[in-house]
């Protein structure tokens, strides 16, 4: 299947185009970033700064917390059932195939995909690595080590899920949830400095083994061991955890998958609560565009997964307002050492782009969220541009409100001079990224006849196009800084590209499969 997907990708021009945009886009962005920033002194000083700011125990504790998160979320999660799909439910689950065979088949496919993406990723950021004097193989090695760490955490989560299922077969008492805390504590225990300051068997713990690879490879907090020891320990534990997880896969996971799938299809209690008494059919608007927006807005508000975006906006905004007004002791802004002051403004701008990029993912999903209804929308008596504009305006609103807490946090954390001028760049970036998201999302039904699944090249090309055009925008701002023409160029740039991408979206809408 992987081979077929590869074959399909290289024989489908649009897919190939999106992959090329992704890989060369990252390459281009890393070239620009590496020419703007001098990274090697930053990297060389980073070790010293890290050793000054935190201690070895804290670093290991941070990785340990990742494992704890996996165990606790795994306890409440689906475990190996999360890898099952509706297709497998219909084809493989009724077939004479054992659950561990299904799991291993899925897993091998997943790991091959990850390794390929890791390789492409490292290849694409090669200019950055070269500029920072980081060796290609070291970087690749570290990424592999990180993937092995994350995968082992996934298995820990699977074991945790198995424990919950086993316990739930015996008792439904609410006390069973304390098990999640207990499991978290067991995973966190080997992280204590007593076990990590010298080489002990505690390095078998996945987080410690990864910490060992990182510290010994970078020389930061090194205890003068070969990083290969950590790497070997990681692999031993990884294979034990993989085989153990395969061993615990049983038919209960089929049941779990079916239950959760059924729950997705049914209306949950939360959505009933979110719906309240509002009935949006009672409004005076007659414009179809407004109706599409209202439909999308209320659909999202009533979806248990989507409403959290709005909850995040409200809670996040209150939180950043509090931070900026009261500067609490327990959460101080970052104190930049004078020798790194030159990197603060580019760092601020890059973080701004990344935060807006993350907040704008909603816009890319506005067509995917329609699922099969996208064809219904297309078949409705609306003009394509009305549909696109409705999707754009609502997404702009959603992205706009999601950007507010992110920007507030950035201003608080990196309190730099002239931040008010810099933060205004959030507006053109938000407009631009939202329009790009709409265009990419509109292409989903063009590339696939399963409009509920976002194809990988589309998902990957979105941040890359954003980063490329965002970086270009910053370049223009840098070139025309202090020039009044900037007041003309900036709106022209963002509105011009917005129009181009919305036009592309309308074109996509007119060429559905």
């Amino acid at each position: 299947m992987l081979y077929n997907q590869f074959k399909q990708t290289i024989t489908t021009p649009s897919m190939l185009l999106f992959y090329c945009v992704t890989v060369f886009g990252i390459f281009f962005v890393s070239m620009i970033v590496s020419s703007l920033l001098t990274l090697s002194p930053v990297f060389f000083q980073l070790g010293t700064i890290l050793e000054d700011i935190i201690d070895r125990g804290m670093l290991f504790a941070a990785f340990g917390l990742l494992s704890v998160t996996s165990v606790v979320s795994g306890f409440f999660g689906l475990g190996p059932a999360s890898g099952l799909t509706s297709i497998q439910e219909n084809v493989l689950l009724p077939a004479p195939v054992l659950p561990h065979q299904v799991f291993l088949g899925n897993y091998v496919r997943r790991i091959i995909r990850r390794l390929v993406f890791a390789f492409l990723g490292v290849l694409a950021i090669l200019p950055l690595l070269t500029e920072a004097n980081l060796l290609f193989f070291n970087a690749f090695f570290l990424i592999i080590s990180f993937i092995v760490f994350l995968e082992t955490n996934y298995f820990l989560g699977a074991v945790s899920s198995y424990i919950r299922i086993t316990v739930e077969r015996r008792t439904r008492s609410r006390l069973r949830y304390f098990l999640a805390v207990l499991l978290g504590m067991i995973v966190f225990y080997p992280v204590f400095p007593e076990f990590t300051s010298t080489f002990t068997p505690a390095f078998l713990a996945p987080s410690n083994a990864f910490g060992l690879v990182l510290t010994e490879m970078s020389g930061v907090f090194s205890i003068n061991l070969s990083f290969m020891i950590g790497f070997q320990l990681q692999f031993i534990v990884f294979f034990i955890a993989l085989l153990f997880t395969a061993n615990i896969c049983n038919y209960d996971y089929y049941e779990l998958f079916s239950l959760v799938k059924g729950r997705d299809e049914m209306e949950g209690n939360f959505s009933r609560f979110a719906r309240g008494e509002v009935d949006f059919s009672n409004n005076r608007f007659r414009d179809p565009m407004v109706w599409i927006m209202l439909k999308d807005f209320y659909s999202r508000l009533r979806s248990p997964f989507q409403i959290w975006k709005y909850v995040y906006v409200v809670v996040g905004t209150i939180f950043v307002v509090y931070l900026n007004l009261f500067h609490p002791e327990w959460f101080r802004s970052v104190q930049i050492p004078p020798n790194l002051a030159f990197a603060v403004v580019p760092a601020f701008l890059l973080m701004l782009i990344l935060l807006i990029q993350m907040s704008s993912v909603t816009s890319m999903l506005s067509f995917v969220d329609e699922k099969e209804n996208v064809y219904l929308l297309k078949a409705s008596p609306f003009r394509s541009r009305d549909i696109i504009l409705a999707k754009f305006l609502l997404s702009l609103f959603e992205v706009g409100i999601a950007v507010i807490p992110a920007c507030g946090l950035l201003i608080y954390i990196l309190r730099i001079e002239g931040y008010i001028a810099l933060i205004t760049l959030a507006a053109p970036l938000t407009i631009l990224f939202t329009a790009i998201g709409i265009a990419i999302g509109a292409y989903v039904p063009v590339l696939t006849n399963d409009p509920r699944t976002l194809p990988v090249p589309l998902a990957f090309s979105y941040p890359i196009i954003n980063l490329s055009l965002g970086t270009l925008l910053l370049g223009i701002v840098t070139i025309f800084a202090g020039n009044l023409y900037l007041l003309l160029i900036l709106p022209l740039y963002s509105v011009g590209f917005m129009a181009v991408f919305l036009g592309i979206a309308a074109k996509a809408l007119n060429s559905y499969l």
């Binding site: 399909q8 219909n90 689950l93 009724p94 077939a95 004479p96 195939v97 038919y251 049941e255």
Partner: protein, 289 residues
């Protein structure tokens, strides 16, 4: 044809001949192998046996104290309104989900104790046909043959036969993701028929998406398979299809069997009803005025 010749190890110099001669060569090779052929197995009677089935989802009871037997040489129609519990019953029958109570046996094997043997015996077509979009139709059929331990040469012959029955020839090398619903349904059907007969089949709306010719072919095939000793359970809303195909009916409503028997039995039990549709409506909420 050439692939089949290669699988059968027909010498390469013999393959470079006219198609009709190659067919003869293949037939000769099959006849030569005929003595090795294992006799066609017979199904256990009853081939499908569901006893006291109960399935709960939390506090909701989807199926309650349900009983069903399907014998070899029989097509049983499972009919009922939406949400009656038909699909849940089929999902328990095929081992996708476990029953809360009760037992399910397929070809004499308990689905939850001798799972692999039971699953080996049953073929399932889901209500909403889905399949791996990145496989070609040919790859999918061979994949199914491999899962069910079928020798490649047998799989190739069967695939060719059923591809002709369902007129799939031109789509055999197409990716499944590019097929229409009807053609996808045909591919799934070829996938279940590629195995060794007699079959135990659980078909959820098998006519779904098929054009009249495809539907006619499928109905004719199911009748032939029944006559050859297969046991078939069909869940459907289309009562015309049910009355045309099925020997017996089980009518479900709100998770329970509210009527069962042959069409004649059902009609004699419901004097006011003139056909299956009226029996169905009478048992599931009354005939609308």
């Amino acid at each position: 044809m050439l692939r089949l010749a290669r699988v059968l190890k027909i010498p390469i110099e013999t393959r470079a001949i006219k198609r009709s001669w190659l067919i003869d060569e293949i037939v000769i090779e099959f006849e030569r192998r005929e003595p090795e052929k294992i006799p066609t197995p017979k199904l256990h009677s009853p081939a499908i046996q569901i006893e006291h089935l109960e399935k709960r989802f939390g506090s909701k009871v989807a199926v309650r104290d349900f009983e069903l037997k399907v014998n070899p040489g029989e097509i049983v129609g499972l009919v009922g309104p939406n949400g009656a519990g038909k699909t849940t019953t089929l999902r328990v029958l095929t081992g996708i989900i476990k029953p809360t109570k009760g037992t399910v046996k397929v070809n004499g094997f308990d689905m939850f104790k001798e799972t692999l043997r039971a699953k080996h015996s049953i073929g399932y077509i889901p209500e909403k046909p889905t399949c791996y979009p990145s496989l070609t139709a040919r790859e999918y059929v061979m994949f199914m043959a491999r899962i069910y331990d079928l020798p490649t040469e047998i799989a190739l012959v069967r695939m060719r036969y059923f591809v002709d029955v369902f007129q799939l020839d031109e789509f055999l090398d197409s990716y499944i993701g590019t097929l229409s619903k009807g053609n996808l349904q045909r591919v799934l059907l070829v996938g279940i028929f590629v195995r060794n007969p007699p079959y135990v089949l659980a078909l959820d709306e098998p006519i779904y998406g098929l054009d009249p010719r495809g539907a006619w072919n499928l109905k004719a095939l199911l009748k032939r398979l029944r006559d050859e000793g297969s046991a078939i359970l069909i869940s459907t809303h289309i009562l015309e299809v049910a009355s045309e195909l099925c020997n017996r009916f089980v009518i479900m409503n709100e998770g329970e069997a509210v009527g069962r028997g042959t069409l004649d039995t059902l009609l004699s039990n419901h004097k006011n009803a003139r056909n299956l549709e009226e029996v169905f409506l009478g048992l599931t909420g009354g005939i609308p005025q």
